[in-house]
């Protein structure tokens, strides 16, 4: 009975989401499609609590359903779905966050003429993401993977009249494609060596070679914006704020980490891959935190914060703690989505102003939004007993007590203190101080479509850590014994970061001109990464293309070696022999007669 109830309620959840997609195809129009879609997502969330509760209570390991869909004779799509703890917890979280974002978007995008299309795009993205989550087969996962990539492109470039938005959308596609090379490599390897794409058959007891695991790592680095493939995530802030909140903080960017969590048994024994995960994650988290320190656009700060937390999740994978990484995904989804919604509320209320230097004293005019912004920042910093604490503090503790790379440990601690610094900087500049906004701004947050989602997510940010730890037992024993300094390491570095931020903000009040040194220039120009890679790679490709087209083909093959060269050779030979052509017939006849006479005389032998 349990299994039937579980599967049928999950099926009901997924079909509730599909209803608005198909009703749009009907000729008659619904009274308010956006409200329909929002309520469909809300209903789906409430229904999805049933399979989650049943799953946790029954202590099931996982439920796998294998089916094949054969549209034509020789082509089958394996619809094999896996319901384990990860998918069963992710679905209600994603639906809850999406419900809040859709409700917010009905206010934020109210003036947009194609709001229905926007909502449908978000819904299609959600369906692709959930497909990715419950996929047991790499092929199905790939369908979901590409689906979220396409919807990301369409949603980042929503305001397609803007050149920067189009560039950003294309950038997202390019970087994700580089990651897809890795995914396709590992899929091809799995198909050729293990003859399967099913996840439960891809983790043999024997040691797996490093190549497919590196492919998966590249895929995760591309999708989850690790260092080297990270520029698309800050650029993706060109899209509307609901898009940033849903895709580029909670759901899409964690798809790479989710892939690594799902395929963790494949490389749990491969120390090289785990070390690369650890070091790449540590580098990403520090780099993103450094870049966030000097950003002035509120959305870019939160984007770099997302990138930093994704690096932390990658570090957790490198520590061989996939369940803890997944836990961090869930808690991060709540407070990051809330941070984006608060920033969206601030931006809309200030008539499109995104620069924090032109905001100030919003605590008085936007009390609820700014309070929730503070709660979100505290959760992000890992304040004790908020959501972020339960996952982030455990990660830092496990990192401190593990036998591994000290450099990665120090880098991660430094990034944790930077997190506190940029969060406090953002809070201080937006909420406190003097009002630097223009005097006539349409500030009004008394709209339930704004307040309800934000407060709902705030409640989630406070409670979700406690809820998950109460009901789910860890599958890897957490470290219980460590020196006091190690136990307090995370909160100490956070406090140091806060003190540093307060000190720096006090300095800026006293100084007149901003100080420009190498560190600040590095941070402001995002590590010089964008111009270096974008210009170098494209110019080198274009120059080599030009060389091949002109020097190789035109010059060498046609001129030097081909028809012109042959003609030139003939011409030079003809030029040397042309001086012998004098045109004197009598001389030619005389030479003929002479040679015949000499030949006749010589051949006559007496």
């Amino acid at each position: 009975l349990d299994t039937t109830l579980l599967s049928s309620s999950l099926l009901l959840t997924l079909s509730t989401l599909l209803i608005p997609v198909f009703t749009q195809l009907l000729p008659k129009t619904l009274k308010s499609p956006t409200a329909t879609i929002t309520s469909a997502t809300k209903t789906a969330f409430l229904i999805s609590l049933i399979p989650t509760t049943l799953f946790i209570h029954s202590g099931t390991e996982h439920i796998i359903s294998c089916w094949e869909w054969k549209p034509i004779m020789n082509f089958k799509i394996p619809i094999s779905l896996k319901l384990d703890l990860y998918s069963v917890l992710f679905i209600p979280t994603a639906l809850f966050v999406t419900w809040s974002i859709l409700q917010f978007a009905s206010w934020y995008m109210a003036s947009d003429p194609h709001i229905t299309k926007f909502f449908l795009y978000l819904l299609m993205f959600l369906i692709a993401m959930l497909l990715l989550t419950i996929a047991n087969n790499m092929f199905l996962l790939f369908i979901g993977w590409e689906g979220v990539g396409i919807m990301s492109f369409l949603l980042i470039g929503w305001w397609h009249g803007r050149a920067e938005a189009n560039t950003a959308a294309l950038q997202a596609i390019m970087y994700n494609r580089i990651g897809d090379i890795g995914l396709m490599l590992s899929m091809a390897w799995l198909a050729s060596s293990l003859n399967t794409w099913e996840l439960q058959q891809t983790s043999p007891a024997t040691h797996l070679p490093t190549l497919p695991t590196l492919g998966l790592l590249l895929a995760a680095a591309g999708k989850s914006a690790q260092f080297g493939l990270h520029p698309w995530l800050p650029a993706a802030m060109e899209g509307p704020t609901p898009v940033s909140a849903l895709l580029h903080s909670s759901t899409m960017v964690v798809a790479g980490i989710f892939l690594l969590i799902r395929t963790h048994p494949m490389f749990a024994n491969n120390q090289l891959t785990l070390t690369i995960c650890l070091c790449l994650g540590a580098l990403s988290t520090l780099f993103a935190a450094t870049c966030a320190l000097t950003q002035n656009d509120i959305k870019k700060i939160i984007a770099f914060s997302t990138s930093s937390q994704l690096g932390l999740m990658m570090v957790t994978i490198g520590l061989s703690l996939p369940q803890l990484a997944f836990f961090h995904i869930l808690t991060h989804a709540f407070f990051k989505a809330m941070l984006f919604l608060c920033s969206g509320s601030i931006i809309h209320n200030l008539n499109g102003e995104q620069d924090i230097r032109k905001m100030g004293n919003l605590q008085k005019t936007l009390p609820t939004t700014t309070s929730c912004l503070t709660i979100g920042n505290l959760a992000l910093m890992g304040t004790p007993f908020l959501a972020g604490f339960y996952s982030k503090d455990l990660i830092i503790e496990s990192l401190n007590t593990s036998y591994l790379n000290t450099w990665a440990l120090l880098i991660t601690l430094l990034a944790t203190s930077f997190t506190a610094t940029y969060s406090l900087r953002m809070t201080l500049l937006t909420q406190t101080g003097f009002t630097r906004t223009p005097p006539t701004t349409p500030i009004n947050e008394n709209n339930p479509a704004v307040i309800n989602p934000i407060t709902r997510l705030a409640a989630g940010s406070i409670m979700i850590g406690l809820l998950i730890t109460s009901f789910i037992l860890p599958v890897k024993t957490p470290p219980m014994t460590m020196p006091t300094l190690t136990k307090l390491a995370a909160i100490t570095v956070t406090a140091l970061g806060l003190i540093l931020a307060l000190e720096l903000s006090n300095l800026t009040h006293a100084m007149t001109s901003p100080k420009r040194n190498h560190a600040s220039t590095f941070s402001i120009s995002l590590g010089y990464f964008n111009p270096l890679t974008h210009r170098l790679s494209s110019t080198s490709l274009l120059i080599s293309g030009q060389k091949i087209a002109t020097h190789l083909i035109d010059l060498s093959w046609y001129k030097k070696l081909g028809p012109e060269g042959l003609a030139h050779l003939q011409l030079s030979m003809a030029k040397t022999s042309t001086t012998l052509h004098t045109g004197l017939i009598k001389a030619y006849l005389g030479s003929f007669a002479l040679s015949i006479l000499v030949t006749t005389l010589l051949t006559q032998t007496p």
Binding site: H57, G59, L473, K476, T477, P479, P483
Partner: protein, 126 residues
């Protein structure tokens, strides 16, 4: 925190045990009444409860009680706090025992070095 690693590189590596190669001395050297540790939970119980392999250690009986309590007390999570504390305390004592083993190894290595130095001194003294 990492002092043992620093001592292996900067201090005397001979008297510092390698954390990955413990133990090198016989377990009953100097402790004649020592008995081997016995797991309270049986292998069948752990297999039936589907406990993850990493968690089938000497504290697994506490974990089994905790899992049973979680199943019975659902959806009220605070009834199992005592059992969770018992499991955590057992893990803590296990860790302390491991640290004591490490310290024993270190002192035995130091003793070994002292004995060797005494032999060398006696051989050169004579």
């Amino acid at each position: 925190m990492g002092a043992h690693l620093a001592r292996r590189y900067l201090g005397d590596a001979e008297t510092e045990p390698d954390p990955l190669q413990l133990p090198t001395f016989p377990p009953r050297l100097g402790l004649p009444e020592r008995r081997a540790r016995v797991m309270v939970a049986t292998a069948e119980e752990l297999a039936r409860a589907q406990v993850p392999l990493d968690q089938r250690d000497f504290c697994a009986h506490h974990l089994l009680r905790l899992m049973r309590c979680h199943r019975d007390a659902f959806p009220v999570p605070w009834q199992c706090h005592d059992l969770r504390h018992a499991w955590d305390a057992c893990q803590h004592h296990d860790y302390v025992m491991r640290m004591k083993e490490f310290e024993r190894e270190r002192r035995l290595l130091q003793r070994q070095k002292r004995l060797r130095q005494r032999e060398v001194a006696a051989a050169t003294g004579e």
